[in-house]
């Protein structure tokens, strides 16, 4: 729609700028807080412009952590979070691709039954089944392990359903051409299906990575050893652990660091992400 009405343009831009400011302001405050000393953070009014302690705070947080001598350094929490998010994202994609492949391309008894069983699990997110799932993980001895943190979150009905829809749009002739060419099922999966769902895989990776990165409740339940703490849990612990006033400058620095990986993932995969969710041409 092309319109040439200056008033509308100005109004639209004002609304957009206000919206951006509204979202960006807390992030700005986080950034500013992360660049000051502890003392400055207790004075009123709170600073609105960056100070000079950014690298000092960064070093402190990354290497020593927050909350005294035995605190977990943030680099370790970041690594834990990254590993967990990657395991969840990659695991979800692998499992969903395979189950969608089975459901779309193989004829086995109760095929639709299995599909609906997977579909029904949409109604049972971790929060609903948290006690039984915890019991299972505990009985399997997976407490305080990366497997325990990730495996219960890996099965994904959403992703399975999405890949099923993607596979259904791929014409049957593609499978037939591959069969005439001599490709077996796994070869067809690897050479044809995966490359054709590349953009969808990327889109799902972005969503699932952020989902995994933001996990709070589940890792909180599964881990008691500080060495397995993730950064999202860590921030909360920092608030509670401190006996005196919270070290706001350091907590804000940690929060800032925790925001980075999702941003990097989204920015670097933005193009594929949009394509994967919108492109229909096969």
């Amino acid at each position: 729609m092309i319109e040439n009405r200056p008033f509308v343009t100005i109004l639209a831009h004002t609304a957009l700028v206000l919206g951006v400011l509204l979202v960006a302001f807390p992030i700005w405050i986080t950034f500013v807080a992360a660049t000051h000393e502890a003392a400055r953070m207790t004075q009123v009014p709170l600073p609105l412009w960056p100070g000079d302690q950014f690298f000092v705070n960064l070093k402190q947080v990354m290497l020593k952590g927050v909350g005294g001598e035995n605190a977990t350094p943030v680099w370790l929490m970041m690594a834990n979070s990254l590993l967990m998010a990657m395991m969840i994202a990659v695991g979800k994609i692998a499992i969903s691709l395979l189950s969608a492949f089975a459901i779309v391309y193989f004829r086995f008894p109760f095929r639709m039954g299995f599909f609906w069983m997977i579909f029904i699990t949409l109604m049972l997110p971790v929060e609903v089944r948290i006690f039984p799932t915890f019991k299972v993980v505990a009985d399997l001895g997976m407490l305080n392990s990366y497997w325990g943190m990730t495996i219960p979150l890996i099965a994904s009905a959403t992703a399975t359903f999405m890949f099923r829809q993607v596979f259904l749009t791929i014409p049957d002739e593609m499978l037939e051409a591959a069969r005439v060419d001599g490709a077996g099922p796994m070869r067809f999966f690897k050479d044809i299906l995966i490359p054709l769902s590349r953009t969808n895989i990327a889109a799902l990776f972005v969503i699932m990575f952020i989902y995994g990165w933001n996990q709070y409740l589940w890792p909180l339940l599964i881990t008691t050893e500080t060495g397995y703490f993730t950064v999202v849990m860590g921030i909360k612990q920092m608030l509670e652990a401190a006996e005196q006033a919270p070290d706001w400058h350091l907590i804000m620095m940690t929060a800032l660091l925790a925001m980075l990986p999702p941003i990097v993932v989204v920015l670097s995969m933005q193009k594929m992400f949009v394509k994967g969710l919108t492109e229909t041409e096969k």
């Binding site: 593609m174 037939e176 060419d181």
Partner: protein, 353 residues
């Protein structure tokens, strides 16, 4: 290169029979066209030869091997699909090389074959392109190339030209004919387009509702259709098929409207028949046996003129006249049906008499 033998081949989906027992031998190097209306089972039959569809009963052999249970890749065939089915994420080169790569043919041999085939089809300059950057005709060539490069003993074509525009279709038709003659590979070609059927095949099989109605050279089928169905299906515009009754002395066919047509030979008196005459075989001019015809509409096609109208008594007819003939509605013509060019079919079974 190989012959293909079908022995009592049947196909049913549950209780519905789609193919009712086909016996057929396709000779080595022969180009056979299967033609029929939509839903007659022609694609199913082709896909059964390819191995993409299972066989309910009977045997299919390629060469001397029964291939009923073999995977498509083990049957030594190559197939060209209607929508080309090129792998969209692979370059033309990779599309053509994929089957060979799976067969574990050495890379230098693949390269040689792909380049030779590309040269043959004049698609060398597109080898590095993705299929989406090609036009319909070019994609069609690549699909053919992917089949040729495998050096199979049988080519299977599933309506390969139906997605092309009319001009390109004629061009590709000639090209397929030329290629098949040069390569000498046994080919089975499925189409619903009768021009393709008439021009491409050494032999033609007309399929209807899962039965082979007639099998023969295109000219045989045109000149001597064995059934009413074949008579009506092959030829454009289709043959005039008129319900008639043979007179008591067996020399005249009497149409429903009362018009009388003299026959070339004596037939069973009193029998109900279908009288067939092609539009291009109807002669104009007054003779002893000529009938009166009233023009309703005429279509000027340039090379010839189609005249639609009726005989006295209301029987509808189409006549094809050479050149441009301007006829107005209601005009009367005297027409005659030459003895040696009409066809008679049994009125109930539809079989040729």
């Amino acid at each position: 290169m190989a012959k293909i033998t079908l022995e009592n081949v049947k196909k049913s989906y549950g209780k519905i029979d789609v193919i009712h027992g086909i016996d057929w031998e396709i000779r080595d190097g022969e180009f056979v066209v299967i033609v029929g209306p939509s839903g007659c089972g022609k694609s199913t039959l082709l896909r059964m030869i390819a191995g993409l569809e299972s066989i309910t009963s009977g045997d299919i052999s390629i060469g001397d091997r029964v291939v009923n249970k073999l995977e498509p890749a083990e049957r030594d065939i190559a197939m060209v699909f209607q929508n080309y089915a090129l792998y969209p994420h692979m370059s033309v080169y990779k599309n053509m090389a994929y089957g060979l790569k799976i067969k574990k043919i050495p890379a230098y041999e693949i390269d040689r074959r792909v380049r030779d085939t590309a040269k043959l089809l004049e698609i060398e300059e597109y080898l590095d392109r993705q299929p989406r950057a090609l036009s319909g005709g070019q994609r069609q060539r690549v699909a053919m190339g992917r089949a040729i490069v495998r050096q199979p003993s049988v080519f299977l074509f599933d309506e390969p030209l139906s997605n092309l525009d009319a001009k390109l279709r004629v061009q590709m038709r000639l090209e397929i004919k030329r290629l098949q003659e040069n390569l000498g590979i046994t080919s089975v070609y499925v189409t619903h387009d009768q021009v393709e059927a008439m021009t491409l095949g050494d032999r033609l099989a007309v399929l209807n509702a899962g039965y082979v109605e007639q099998l023969g050279t295109p000219i045989e089928i045109y000149e001597r259709p064995e059934t009413v169905f074949v008579a009506g299906f092959i030829g454009s515009p289709s043959m005039n098929l008129l319900a008639a009754t043979i007179s008591t002395d067996g020399t005249i066919a009497e149409l429903a409207g009362g018009s009388k047509i003299a026959l070339s030979q004596v037939q069973l008196p009193g029998q109900k028949v279908t009288f067939g005459i092609r539009p291009e075989h109807i002669k104009i001019g007054k003779t002893e046996t000529s009938l009166s015809f009233t023009v309703a509409i005429s279509e000027l096609l340039g090379a010839d003129t189609l005249v639609y109208g009726s005989l006295t008594g209301g029987t509808q007819l189409v006549i094809r006249l050479e050149g441009i003939r301007k006829l107005s509605e209601g005009e009367q013509l005297d027409i005659d049906f030459p003895h040696d060019l009409h066809h008679l079919f049994d009125g109930t079974s539809g079989k040729r008499l």
